[in-house]
Amino acid sequence: LRWFARVTAIPFVRRLVVAKMLRDAGFDRMPNLDAP
């Protein structure tokens, strides 16, 4: 986890990790009620 904390300080890495975490959590499948 310490290693994870260090690499997520890198903006490129954190964008990739956030994308994967949200995908795994189902965020991408969630209906977008904010869409026009």
Partner: protein, 451 residues
């Protein structure tokens, strides 16, 4: 009257079988005996003087009320004048000059706020782990997580160190540790309790609430910090079960919770809450964005001082785009609308308070923290619903044996009295249980289980 309750202490004070100074001394002895349990981070230096003042009031036959002289603890993100707050970080802020309003109200009611409790760093996860101060020991099983983020408050009460405690709850941080430690935990309606001088995780998900042995104790503390009387004649009304709240629950959770519902609320119908099923990803996005914004300066100047899990979450939160935040906000509004519609036909919504039994605590987690988002969602997805909607919710124990498990009872905004009325019925059936590790110094003769 439960032997471990505030009510029992108050009665023993009124009958002069005990007094607030002796009560405080027992708590301080428990703090010392339980030093390795890591529930308490600091003591409040004015506590003894406050206990002595309370003792004089009882001697004169003029107590202030049922909280007079009662020894309480508060989470270390809530300011108590004269003590620094760590908010779960390695070191404390400068000494607080003012009490938070909730603490001031407790003290005005005569309560002896004597200790500040350990917590998950920044209150950022529901595990209750702290790599800086040590993780509070779950008195039911030391190999399992205490739950958080108000882990020290829960362990302090469940272990018999304090009569009751305050926690804060942005995603289940009162109800999750209350559940894993076999206590009653109340998250009030958003805004019911002033949150000044409290370190918050988000802009509008944080709530201050009590962790206590009994529903009446939780109600008493809530009435004091909210400065509002509850209708003790309130009734549960029409009760329904949210079947979606069991989705993803660990083996056995649904069975014991449904058995409790059947025993206490026979015939309660199931209802669907499809929007609430998205609570976990919505909460992740909002907490990520809000926490990284609130603690941006900390991340820039003191990232190395943070535990690995808190640091990673703040960093990841900074990468969440405004579009994702807008999508999460829209679903949050839909969740509230769904619940408002349900509460036109029903008065209370039931489900499990957590989706799993107290998770096992990996040795590395004690040292570095824990960032298992699947486990987080399983543990707290149901509690997230009440934070996102701002509605009151109470976790009340609902098993008679084995590891603790609780029923969560949600109600309409401002209807804490109804929520607690239902919790009282559950309590009458299942009652409080004393864990195997119990210091029991908060009440006289407390070496025996409550009766």
């Amino acid at each position: 009257v439960i032997a471990t309750s505030i009510a029992a202490l108050a009665r023993s004070f009124r009958e002069h079988a005990d007094d607030p100074v002796r009560g405080l001394e027992r708590c301080l002895a428990a703090v010392e005996a339980a030093r390795e349990d890591r529930a308490i981070l600091s003591l409040v230096p004015t506590a003894r003087a406050e206990a002595e003042a309370a003792a004089r009031r009882f001697a004169a036959g003029k107590p202030l009320g049922d909280l007079d002289g009662i020894p309480l603890a508060v989470k270390d993100c809530i300011d108590v004048a004269g003590v620094g707050s760590t908010n779960g970080r390695r070191s404390a802020s400068e000494t607080a000059r003012h009490d938070a309003t909730c603490v001031r109200r407790l003290r005005q009611a005569g309560a002896v706020v004597f200790a500040k409790t350990n917590m998950h760093e920044l209150g950022i996860l529901p595990f209750g782990i702290n790599p800086h101060h040590g993780t509070p020991r779950n008195p039911w099983d030391p190999e399992r997580m205490p739950g958080g983020s108000s882990s020290g408050s829960a362990v302090a009460v469940a272990s018999g160190i304090a009569a009751a405690a305050l926690g804060t709850d942005a995603g289940g941080s009162v109800r999750v540790p209350a559940t894993l430690n076999g206590l009653v935990g109340l998250k009030p309606t958003f805004g019911a309790v002033p949150d000044d001088h409290v370190a918050k995780l988000t802009s509008d998900l944080d709530h201050i609430g009590p962790l206590a042995w009994t529903v009446d104790d939780a109600a008493l503390v809530f009435e004091t910090i909210a400065d509002r009387k509850l209708d003790r004649a309130a009734v549960p009304g029409r009760v329904a079960v949210a079947r979606d709240f069991f989705v993803g629950a660990e083996n056995g959770v649904e069975r014991v919770v449904r058995e409790a519902v059947s025993a206490v609320f026979p015939g309660a119908p199931d209802v669907d809450t499809p929007m609430c099923r998205w609570a976990a990803p919505v909460e992740m996005v909002i907490v990520g964005v809000d926490a990284s914004t609130a603690h941006g300066e900390l991340l820039r100047s003191g990232a190395d001082e943070l535990g690995a899990d808190a640091r990673a979450i703040l960093q990841l939160g900074a990468a969440i785009t405004p579009e994702k935040r807008a999508k999460a906000d829209a679903m949050r509004r839909a969740i509230r609308a769904e619940l408002d519609a349900l509460f036109r036909a029903h008065d209370l919504l039931l489900g499990p308070a957590v989706g799993c039994w107290a998770p096992r605590l990996h040795p590395d987690a004690r040292r570095f923290g824990e960032l298992d988002t699947n486990r987080m969602a399983q543990l707290a997805a149901v509690t997230f619903v009440a934070n996102l909607s701002g509605l009151p919710a109470c976790a009340v124990p609902c098993v008679r044996e084995g590891l603790p498990m609780s029923l969560q009872i949600m109600g309409r905004a401002g209807e804490e009295a109804r929520v607690l009325a239902a919790a009282r019925l559950v309590e009458q059936r299942f009652g409080p249980r004393v864990p195997p590790r119990w210091f029991g110094h908060s009440v006289p003769g407390a070496a025996s289980p409550p009766s």
